[in-house]
């Protein structure tokens, strides 16, 4: 265990405005090992890998990186790739309408004087594809092969660059069991050939199976690094490390106020919009009563957002089946406007892409979903609109110089409040809040929790989707857990512990079939 590490990151710290993303992280990887990193969403895993690969350039962080015994000052991905460090992201970076061979040599073209040498391309691509066990013709287009094989193309691409250290970010998140097994086998095979691998994964059993070492990150700090050689690593220990945080009074007092059933999903199933054979939500059943705050706990990619958006006017997915009940009666929401008209509101997790029109004013954003209430014969009543926006600004304590200021100028927390105000103004019966406190500071979080409480007190059914477990335990009456598209638990607040929830969230349901 004492041999010199191939990679050594010492005392890495990095700050984003208002957030300490990494604090004094020391991370060492042995030559020829598989080293896994795990942690909750936002624990700093991806940031650490971006520091390593030069996406966050030298100078934007503090600390030292040493690779193969020489110091690194990467300014871009190209710099790190030149040294043999290759990162494969969860969203694959392949060009869909180019062939496998062309993708393998993308940015690394096999050419003489700028002219592609096709026979060399095919020959070398063939060799690399055999090495990763990809049995396709090199000229097949990327769109024509499945995600699992695309993942293999990414690895072949890394091998073409003479990779020394391969970083895989959630490599099996989108794969089925067979493809996952093949990929993990390949990673082990590469290790035996001397390629060092770093794997980021949520699937604990999977990484325990193949990793030589596991580092757990939490809130930007290393909790501990475990080595398989020192004795077996258990899931319980990892979970405890990942969530081991104290609940403090970061949450307003909440009294349960559950009334009649407001929202129910029965056997709700949704397929992926492109990969139409893949179930993203699988036979989900859940009930929310008026006045109740219900959590939906799941890791990224578990199907939680997809479930919410498929209910909200079929904004996601295909072949949606199952039945939605609103106030106990069967309901249809084929379009977003139907969903809004029937009292459903969905506040997106990505406020910049799906929630707000950043270049418009606070007022225009707040009223856009219920503009018809403010209009007579299609003409907006300017005075009524101004009054409504001003009232919402006060009620939700949005800090802005004026409701006429563009949303662009507001802080993240205040943007989130505008996003919330927009839907509060539609006066919904059911509010679905997707990651309502992502990327905002503690003070703004408390204010958002207070607003959620108030909405519940008014008798509205509130569904909060979050991967922050303390948050859910702090504000919800009940918490559903979701893993790989299936509801895996329905936990009352009194019984909810982070360990218990994390266990339910990481159940690999597909293995049990």
């Amino acid at each position: 265990m004492q041999d010199t590490p191939i990679l050594s990151m010492e005392s890495i710290s990095m700050e984003f405005p208002g957030v300490k993303a990494l604090s004094n992280v020391t991370f060492k990887v042995r030559q020829g090992a598989i080293h896994a990193i795990c942690g909750e969403n936002g624990a700093g895993k991806s940031t650490l890998m971006k520091v390593l690969s030069g996406v966050h350039p030298h100078g934007s962080y503090s600390g030292d990186i040493t690779f193969q015994s020489s110091p690194c000052h990467f300014r871009s991905l190209r710099d790190s790739e030149r040294r043999g460090i290759v990162i494969i992201h969860q969203e694959l970076a392949l060009i869909p309408f180019l062939s496998i061979a062309e993708n393998i040599f993308l940015g690394n073209e096999q050419a003489r004087a700028g002219v592609i040498d096709w026979s060399k391309v095919q020959q070398r691509a063939g060799g690399l594809m055999r090495r990763v066990g990809l049995n396709e013709h090199p000229m097949t287009r990327i769109v024509d092969i499945g995600v699992g094989k695309q993942q293999l193309v990414e690895i072949a691409k890394a091998l073409a660059k003479r990779v020394e250290l391969l970083i895989l970010d959630e490599p099996t998140a989108a794969l089925n069991d067979e493809d996952s097994a093949h990929l993990l086998g390949l990673v082990q095979q590469l290790r035996d050939q001397g390629v060092t691998c770093v794997i980021i994964s949520h699937k604990l059993s999977e990484i325990i199976g193949i990793a030589d070492s596991i580092t757990v990150l939490r809130d930007g700090e290393v909790v501990e690094t475990l080595h398989a050689a020192d004795g077996p690593i258990t899931e319980e220990r990892l979970i405890k490390d990942m969530v081991g945080r104290e609940l403090s009074s970061r949450f307003p007092d909440h009294v349960s106020n559950a009334g009649e059933e407001a929202f129910r999903l029965a056997d709700w199933t949704v397929y992926h919009p492109i990969d139409t054979e893949r179930k993203v939500v699988d036979g989900a059943n859940l009930v929310v009563r008026g006045g109740e705050v219900v959590g939906l706990a799941g890791l990224m990619g578990s199907g939680r957002t997809e479930m919410a958006m498929s209910v909200f006017g079929r904004s996601y997915g295909t072949k949606i089946s199952g039945q939605l009940y609103l106030g106990g009666k069967p309901a249809e929401t084929k379009r977003v406007s139907d969903a809004v008209a029937q009292g459903i509101a969905y506040v997106s997790e990505d406020r910049k892409r799906y929630g707000l029109n950043l270049i418009q004013s606070v007022r225009e954003n707040m009223t856009v979903a219920a503009l018809r209430n403010l209009a007579k014969g299609g003409v907006i009543e300017a005075a009524a609109e101004a009054a409504a926006a001003e009232r919402l600004r006060r009620e939700l304590t949005v800090k802005t110089p004026s409701v006429e200021a563009p949303v662009l100028k507001l802080s993240g927390g205040n943007q989130q409040k505008v996003s919330l105000a927009k839907w509060v103004y539609t006066d919904p019966d059911v509010l679905i809040l997707d990651e309502p406190t992502r990327g905002i500071d503690v003070g703004a979080k408390f204010e958002i929790y207070t607003i959620i409480n108030r909405l519940a007190q008014q008798g509205k059914a509130v569904i909060v989707i979050s991967s922050e477990l303390p948050e859910l335990i702090g504000i919800c009456d009940r918490i559903y857990t979701i893993s790989e598209g299936r509801i895996t638990g329905d936990v009352a607040r009194a019984d909810a512990t982070q360990e218990h929830l994390m266990k339910l969230m990481t159940i690999e349901t597909k293995d049990q079939v």
Binding site: V336, S337, Y354, E364, I380, A382
Partner: protein
């Protein structure tokens, strides 16, 4: 004081364009030895550029929503051809022919709107196809130029409002009245919206800023009025039509649900969809409006030329698109105003006329216009980048 400065700099871009118009006018006024602002030249400036002004009103809406329309020149030629055919071959009375033109405009708009909104083909492609299709149809209909239209029809572009208020010196009373009433109305509307803001506890812009702004705009408007009042015709009927359209469409974009949806779609399409906006219908209606405005432009063009010809409207789409971009409409959609596009169109118009009076060959006029367009958009992007850094 800080708030005044902030408020001014925020509006600077918006009013910078008016400043640019003033600068261009002053330069040509000097270069032409005072001939640019001769009353009759001002009147013909409006007549010459009516088509750009009208088309830009629709184009600004199209661009705000994140689309583009390459077909407006061909539409003008095609609709103008139908208009001419109705009067020349069928001997229809001109009001009936104009009504037919408007109906055809609506149909053409529906055609484009259908493909863009419901089949979801990018507007660039749909209107590129439209550009070919309608130019072709225009040649079919008006390959043989039709001329000799009723006097009433020709008056649309050459006529002026009657001078029933007589003259004060050489100033036409009707023109002066329209100018003064218009300015007073604008001041009143501004003050009223200010009062509404105060009533609802919203801090309005500083009084000093509002006063300076109103004073500058009113001054320019009254100056223009005084020039027109001394022109041989007084207030051109075309100006009344264009002015009416500007008022209507400013209202539509600023004060109606439809207008707000146009901005929402262009600003963030995903957010608009997830807000329950019927984006398909909104897009369809945008192209209906564009079609109607093309028909109105066709009426103006055919009336002014006194003839319907297949080559009418060449490059009009480029003039209208350029006017929008010079007038501060964002290339990426979501931002733009009718008033900005109008000022942009006038800058192009003044350039045309000034360069012509100076005797610059038309080839070089194109070069100058191209560079002005590039400079305007570059200024827009650079100033936006700077404000992001700040």
């Amino acid at each position: 004081m800080a708030s005044i400065k902030e408020s001014l700099s925020g509006k600077l871009r918006q009013y910078g364009i008016i400043g640019a118009l003033v600068v261009v006018v002053v330069i040509f006024e000097i270069m032409t030895n005072g001939r640019l602002l001769l009353p009759d030249n001002v009147a013909s400036l409006i007549g010459q550029n009516a088509y750009v002004l009208i088309l830009s009103i629709g184009m600004v809406m199209v661009i705000i929503a994140g689309h583009i329309d390459l077909s407006v020149g061909s539409q003008v030629a095609f609709i103008g051809g139908v208009l001419g055919w109705a009067m020349y071959h069928w001997r229809w009375p001109w009001p009936a022919a104009v009504a037919l033109a408007l109906a055809i405009g609506l149909a053409v708009g529906a055609w484009h709107g259908f493909w863009v909104a419901y089949v979801r083909i990018p507007a660039f492609i749909v209107t590129l196809a439209g550009m070919l299709v309608f130019r072709g149809l225009a040649i079919v209909i008006a390959g043989f130029t039709m001329a000799g239209f009723p006097g009433g029809f020709v008056k649309i572009s050459s006529g002026s409002l009657p001078h029933f208020l007589g003259y004060a010196g050489d100033f036409d009373g009707v023109t002066m009245m329209i100018g003064v009433v218009g300015v007073a109305g604008m001041v009143f509307a501004q003050m009223r919206s200010r009062a509404t803001q105060v009533k609802h506890g919203i801090a309005p812009e500083p009084m000093a800023v509002a006063v300076i702004r109103l004073a500058v705009i009113s001054g320019l408007a009254l100056f223009l009025t005084s020039l027109l009042a001394r022109s041989s015709g007084g207030t051109p009927i075309l100006l009344v039509i264009v002015g009416g359209l500007i008022l209507i469409y400013s209202f539509v974009l600023n004060r109606t649900v439809f207008g707000r949806h146009v901005y929402a779609i262009g600003g963030n399409l995903n957010a608009a969809i997830l807000s329950g906006i019927n984006t398909a219908r909104t897009n369809f209606v945008i192209f209906l409006h564009m079609g109607i405005l093309c028909a109105i432009a066709a009426v103006a063009v055919v009336s002014r030329a006194g003839a319907a010809t297949a080559v009418a409207g060449a490059n009009y789409e480029l003039d209208a698109i350029a006017a929008c971009f010079i007038g501060g409409t964002a290339v990426t959609g979501g931002i733009g105003r009718v008033s900005g596009a109008m000022v942009g169109a006038l800058i192009m118009g003044v350039l045309n006329m000034g360069l012509s009076i100076c005797g610059v060959p038309s080839a070089w006029q194109q070069v100058v216009k191209g560079l002005v367009l590039l400079a305007a958009v570059a200024f827009d992007l650079v100033s936006k980048r700077r404000s992001k850094v700040a």
